[in-house]
């Protein structure tokens, strides 16, 4: 009798009132979760979004009523403005260009950084700690330390490299490739990887290593952008933003 029994008789099939919509990997819905803490999206989310939209429009409108967008003279291909600056979000790149060969500073390093940023979720792929700021107290300290480190070291690097430029001091005595590419590349690698050496003594998780690298790079990017945008004046020399010569103001470049 057992042999011939079909597990699904036609009758059973007719009684099937469900269908498979999607396969989901993961624990069943309620495993490890607290009580359902959710609300209906309808009025709340819509209201929040409308208010946010109004707020953003208001901020932009106020800004636009008080400050006019800059417009300089008609483009003149015989005369470069002094200083000639890229839009502010590229001033980090332009500042990097001050410190080495363009292929290194404006192509190789940015490409590496973008590749690193894309790769982050694949370098740190444990789902643990997602959705929590800094993941843990220790994570927060690591981020803070990395930010402080970059905040001190990068301005120092920019200042020293500008006042004692290796490129100028040894110009003609050592090959250009060495001065303009090898030395800055080594310096950058050392500066960025040095704090990782410190961290490695504390058995860091993938998340913590990524967090340190990201924080150092992110903070450095901000510093380079700010230096390029605010601290570079005529002749692309370093000045204090409030002490620019020749009536130049960095804000005119926005």
């Amino acid at each position: 009798m057992n042999e011939n029994t079909e597990s699904f008789s036609p009758q059973d099939r007719q009684m099937k009132t469900y269908s498979l919509v999607e396969l989901v990997k993961g624990p069943t819905t309620m495993v490890d979760r607290g009580p359902d803490d959710s609300i209906f999206a309808f009025p709340m989310v819509a209201i929040l979004e409308i208010f946010l939209t109004l707020g953003v429009i208001l901020v932009l409108l106020l800004m636009s009523l008080t400050v006019n967008a800059p417009l300089e003279d008609l483009a003149n291909l015989y005369e470069t403005t002094d200083p000639a600056k890229a839009p502010w979000y590229f001033m980090g790149l332009q500042e990097m260009l001050e410190h080495g060969h363009p292929t290194l500073m404006a192509v190789a390093i940015p490409t590496l950084i973008v590749l690193f940023v894309i790769a982050i979720p694949y370098l740190d792929n444990s789902p643990a700690g997602a959705g929590i700021w800094f993941t843990s107290k220790r994570g927060k300290r690591i981020a803070l330390f990395s930010a402080l480190y970059a905040l001190i070291v990068m301005p120092l690097y920019i200042y020293l490299d500008t006042s004692f430029p290796i490129r100028e001091i040894y110009r003609g005595q050592l090959p250009d490739f060495f001065l303009n590419t090898v030395v800055p590349a080594l310096l950058m690698v050392v500066i960025v990887l040095l704090p990782l050496l410190v961290l490695s003594r504390y058995k860091p998780s993938a998340r913590e290593i990524t967090m340190m690298l990201f924080t150092v790079l992110f903070t450095s990017a901000i510093i380079f952008t700010l230096v390029g945008f605010l601290f570079r004046g005529p002749g692309f020399e370093l000045y204090w933003p409030w002490g620019m010569p020749e009536g130049y103001s960095p804000w005119d470049n926005l």
């Binding site: 015989y78 363009p102 303009n180 692309f236």
Partner: protein, 163 residues
């Protein structure tokens, strides 16, 4: 057909699939190449051509004169004249001549060049490019369609001035 042969042969279904796939890829690649060719700029001449810079007497020895129409400087030394393109070899800014410092000083990232275009400082990787210049009785003619880049300045880049 022996079993071995059967193993190697491709079933009709997957053969057709592969043929389709190959054809579609080919069409896609062709399309891509066509688009690339389309957006690759066709040469439009630009400002190239022969530009008359002026009579040789107008250019004193050890002086720099700017010829706006040709976007170059005529620099004359005791070795001859050279027509230096105004375009910075670093990132393309127009380099002005600084008469008080006697150097070309690029405002963009501070590269400096001497009167024959050699790099004195800053990030520029090469000396200023130059255009071939001809010196004849009626004056200096410069061929701006043919910028020459160089890694070092050489006296042969200059055009001798007779007399």
């Amino acid at each position: 057909m022996s079993e071995k042969e059967a193993d190697k042969s491709v079933p009709r279904r997957s053969f057709l699939g592969m043929a389709w796939f190959a054809t579609l890829s080919l069409v896609a690649v062709q399309g891509l190449v066509a688009i690339l060719k389309f957006i690759n700029p066709v040469p439009t001449g630009g400002f190239g051509g022969f530009i008359y810079a002026g009579k040789i007497e107008d250019f004193a020895i050890n002086s720099i004169n700017r010829i706006l129409a040709g976007r170059f400087y005529i620099s004359r030394t005791d070795q001859g004249v050279i027509a230096l393109w105004q375009k910075c070899t670093h990132l393309g800014c127009a380099v002005p001549w600084d008469e008080s410092e006697k150097i070309f000083h690029c405002p963009c990232h501070g590269s400096t060049f001497n009167e024959v275009g050699e790099v004195l400082g800053g990030p520029a990787p090469r000396p200023l490019d130059y255009f071939p210049a001809e010196v004849s009785e009626d004056g200096i003619w410069v061929d701006t369609s043919d910028p020459r880049s160089r890694n070092h300045h050489d006296p042969s880049h200059m055009t001798q001035v007779q007399g």
